[in-house]
């Protein structure tokens, strides 16, 4: 493969040119209710050429690898058409490396019948909880992907990755009321980590059933405590996307709002993003521009200290490379993305964190989130009332919203109980979704946040 890619790159007349090729094999199993709906495997091969000429980019993706030289020509021609004012890419030393995935139990070695039997058990576990279970969608997926990368500066990397995930949405219904519970578990290392999850599926089913009787939360502005799952997604959605430099580098006003060194949160808050953490959903050794992953602090002690870059954004902003250029598949050009984003633990216990709240809301388990610049919104599946320092009755899910700059300043306590979300996350941006990411956080408290309970 290296020879093939390097020979295709040899005579290109672009400022910069790269080729990525991916081979993949995957299996998926889906249930609707108690019945298996789909089971099957897919295989794929494809690649792309990306070229830069005077700051303009050309990109060509394909499944047929036989026309590589023509595709390089086409990408360069398109880049020339898009040419503007000069290509600026942060300098990077060429790297040559072949990275094998470090797998304990490979999903590829587990027979399909065994995967199916395991899922049958999970479906039954969920349905055994109550006769109020109306339906469920339980899924299993595994993928093995091999990526090859070469660029015109002499870099060549080859990376392998295994990914396995299972989970489900369990729906309970009674008297016209419908509620759901969710669970998921992902691993890049070990098929065995998706075994023995019967209790997790039961828990999701129980959660759906108990929400049937829950009252809606009040709407308005409250003291809100976020569980680690919600807190990590909140940081990802509300702040993380603003730290992606492609939103910032061509936007002078946003640059003025996001000045490195400025205080943007209470000093108790520290946030980082790191693809270099071992074996999480968003982990890798090299990004899709061949740049080595590293741990990048974004907020340290309340101050903005960094942001995430591709080679182009780092070059144009004259900041260091961070290794965050990612593409979901070969059909897309890499863009600046988060990897494993997390809030570092504070030193307050969870009990102390809720202890002085008279009337607040504790939100648990995320359902989704979205952000548009400074505005964010996300949805929690469950909530609890907090009264006089104690977690009180279960409430239905709530929607939270606000302005990120205000809300970051309103984070006034960070607990000491950090966890990574074992389900892994999927992030969407620029039509590339769901990109595997990791999310981690302890419990956090927001002194004022608008919520709507339905």
């Amino acid at each position: 493969m290296r020879d093939l890619l390097e020979s295709a790159l040899k005579n290109n007349r672009a400022d910069y040119c790269e080729i990525r090729v991916e081979e993949s094999e995957s299996t998926s199993i889906q249930y609707r209710g108690r019945e298996l709906e789909n089971i099957g495997a897919t295989s794929g091969i494809g690649g792309n050429v990306r070229a830069a000429v005077n700051g303009g980019w050309g990109f060509v993706s394909f499944n047929d690898l036989s026309g590589l030289n023509d595709n390089v020509d086409l990408a360069v021609r398109q880049a020339r058409l898009a040419a503007q004012d000069g290509t600026v890419l942060a300098e990077a030393d060429p790297v040559v490396d072949i990275v094998k995935s470090e797998v304990l139990t490979d999903a590829a070695d587990v027979p399909l019948s065994e995967k199916k039997d395991l899922m049958d058990e999970y479906v039954e576990a969920a349905w055994s909880v109550s006769d109020k279970i109306q339906t469920s969608q339980v899924y299993y997926t595994d993928a093995h992907r091999k990526k090859y990368f070469a660029n015109s500066e002499g870099s060549y990397t080859q990376q392998e990755r295994m990914f396995v995930r299972t989970g489900g949405v369990i729906v309970a219904r009674e008297n016209g009321e419908v509620q759901q519970g969710r669970t998921s578990r992902a691993s890049t290392q070990d098929f065995d980590s998706v075994r023995n999850l019967h209790a997790e599926f039961e828990k999701a089913a129980r959660s759906a059933v108990s929400l049937l009787d829950a009252k809606p939360a009040k709407s308005g502005e409250f003291v809100v405590v976020l569980d680690p799952a919600i807190a990590s997604v909140f940081i990802h959605e509300a702040f993380g996307h603003l730290s992606e430099a492609d939103h910032v580098y061509e936007n002078p006003k946003l640059r003025d709002l996001l000045v490195i060194g400025e205080e943007i949160a209470d000093p108790i808050l520290t946030v980082a993003d790191s693809a270099a953490e071992p074996a999480l959903s968003g982990s890798y050794k090299y990004d899709d521009e061949g740049i080595r992953a590293r741990k990048n602090y974004l907020i340290k002690d309340g101050r903005l200290v960094g942001r995430l870059h591709s080679r182009e954004t780092a070059g144009k902003m004259n900041e260091s490379l961070t290794g965050n250029a990612r593409a979901i598949t070969y059909r897309f050009a890499p863009i600046v993305r988060m990897t494993n984003t997390f809030v570092e633990p504070g030193n307050v216990s969870f009990e102390d964190l809720v202890g002085d709240i008279k009337d607040g809301v504790y939100v648990v388990n995320w359902l989704g989130g979205q952000t548009a610049m400074e505005m964010f919104t996300f949805r929690a599946m469950e909530a609890y009332a907090i009264r006089n320092g104690r977690i009180a009755e279960l409430l239905r899910g709530v929607t939270l919203t606000g302005n990120v700059f205000d809300t970051l300043k309103n984070i006034d306590a960070v607990a000491d109980d950090f966890t990574w979300d074992p389900g892994g996350g999927g992030c969407g941006k620029g039509g590339q979704s769901p990109l595997p990411v990791g999310n981690g956080s302890p419990h956090i408290r927001i002194s004022k946040c608008v919520i709507a309970g339905v």
Binding site: N38, A41, F59, N63, V178, S219, K253, A333, V454
Partner: protein
């Protein structure tokens, strides 16, 4: 013999029935970022999906490789051992609805012209307001869908052309994003309507307004209709959700669940629309499927397997979207009422006009709930728009708010490829904002 023909021939030897689905596409987006041309892309793809029935069970696989037909068939056969029981037989191919979704001009339009149209749109917007940061995407695509089984094959080609523009304006920590988009099967480089829409929204958003928390009349733009009640309706009319008993509309066929003024069809038979096709991804001819007729629930959307399980017929809504066929909506067509958007707003004394929201599909959609942050919305005061609202959430239930509709507007517009709808004034939406 082509690769998919080899696959199908092998599959037919070892299975009771087999079908090859071949999707070939070529897309060329021209992207502008922050007022400048950024990239020109060409994306060519081809995939072959095999679905077979063996011993009464369904086996599936798909691949973008073209080197090993035996492996493809073996993979589908293995999956059929565990696969779902087939509740349908492949219907014969050859029937198709007369709908034209191909424009020969689209593939031949030069990227230079697309780039030029983008440049001109940006130049006009910057002339209007030099502080704007504008992203534009202009793209064309050309796809072919081919279905083969029982020695016969049917195919069609479809073109698509789309222009989208978003403009970002920042004042202090106040950020405003407005956008506009158009899609069709034919190339349309006239960007006047996009320019006008962006300018109008920017002008409306100039002043700030505020609403109080509570339940007030809300006028939804067609985009807001899609982002709020859209996900719930899509879920509710999906035959699979009905089959699972998960749709709130189970058992409601023939009942008046919605306001009698509401009529909605799922229609893949409209000429020159990127959401149309002569047959679905299972070779079943498309038709205009009435979902709601004068408030009455008329039909649900089915593919072959789900229809078989429900003892009914496919509505021609089996689409693959990358995986196995599943009931999917094509384009929801909402009948127009009367009056302009201004009339709708004029009839509201104190309320909210919502143009778009963030996070609409995140609520308890199964129940019909929606909720999200008003990304672009305006206070209505005495029948007039009175400033942009911020930090405001709306929430409600699609079935409740559509049961009694204040007013349906008369002016419809396309929202992307999937919805053709007028603005609507609704009650029963909860507005939450800072105390």
């Amino acid at each position: 013999m082509t690769f998919d023909e080899q696959v199908l021939e092998l599959a037919e030897k070892s299975a009771d029935a087999a079908e090859a689905f071949v999707h070939t596409s070529s897309a060329t987006p021209v992207e502008f970022e922050a007022n400048k041309l950024k990239s020109i892309e060409t994306k060519v793809s081809r995939s072959v999906s095999l679905r077979l029935i063996k011993d009464g069970r369904i086996g599936t696989t798909s691949t973008s490789r073209d080197d090993d037909p035996e492996a493809v068939v073996a993979s589908a056969l293995e999956s059929s051992v565990y696969g779902a029981e087939a509740r349908f037989e492949f219907p014969p191919l050859g029937e198709r609805t007369k709908v034209d979704v191909y424009d020969g001009e689209t593939p031949t339009i030069p990227v230079e012209s697309m780039a030029e149209a983008g440049k001109q749109l940006i130049a006009r917007l910057l002339e209007y307001n030099p502080e704007l940061l504008i992203d534009v995407s202009i793209g064309k695509d050309d796809e072919e869908i081919r279905i083969a089984r029982y020695g016969a094959a049917e195919s069609y080609r479809r073109t698509g052309f789309g222009v989208s523009v978003s403009a970002n304006l920042i004042r202090g920590t106040d950020m405003l994003d407005v956008y506009s988009f158009n899609v069709s099967c034919s190339p349309d480089l006239d960007t006047d309507s996009l320019f006008d829409e962006i300018r109008e929204k920017l002008e409306l958003a100039r002043d700030a307004g505020a609403v109080e928390s509570g339940s007030i009349p809300v006028v939804l733009s067609p985009i807001a209709f899609m982002l709020t009640v859209g996900p719930a309706l899509r879920m509710g009319f999906n035959g699979k959700m009905v089959e699972q008993g998960a749709s709130p509309l189970v058992g409601k066929l023939g009942e008046e669940v919605f306001d009698p003024a509401l009529t909605i069809h799922d229609d893949a038979t409209l000429q020159q629309r990127p959401s149309s096709s002569p047959f679905d991804d299972e070779g079943v001819p498309t038709r205009s499927v009435p979902l709601v007729e004068n408030g009455i629930v008329s039909e649900f959307l089915y593919d072959l397997q789900t229809a078989g399980r429900m003892g009914t017929q496919s509505t021609g809504n089996g689409y693959r979207g990358g995986g196995s066929p599943s009931p999917s909506s094509t384009a929801a067509i909402v009948d127009a009422g009367e009056g302009s958007l201004q009339d709708l707003i004029g009839n509201v004394e104190n309320g909210l006009f919502v143009d778009y929201i963030l996070g609409g599909g995140q609520a308890n959609v199964l129940r019909g709930d929606f909720g999200g942050n008003v990304q672009l919305g305006f206070k209505i005061e005495n029948g007039r728009l009175a400033g942009r609202v911020k930090d405001t959430l709306i929430a409600g239930n699609a079935y409740e708010v559509l049961a009694k509709i204040r007013q349906i507007g008369g002016e419809r517009r396309w929202v992307g490829a999937g919805l053709y709808c007028p603005p609507m004034a609704l009650d029963g939406i909860t507005v939450s904002t800072k105390a």
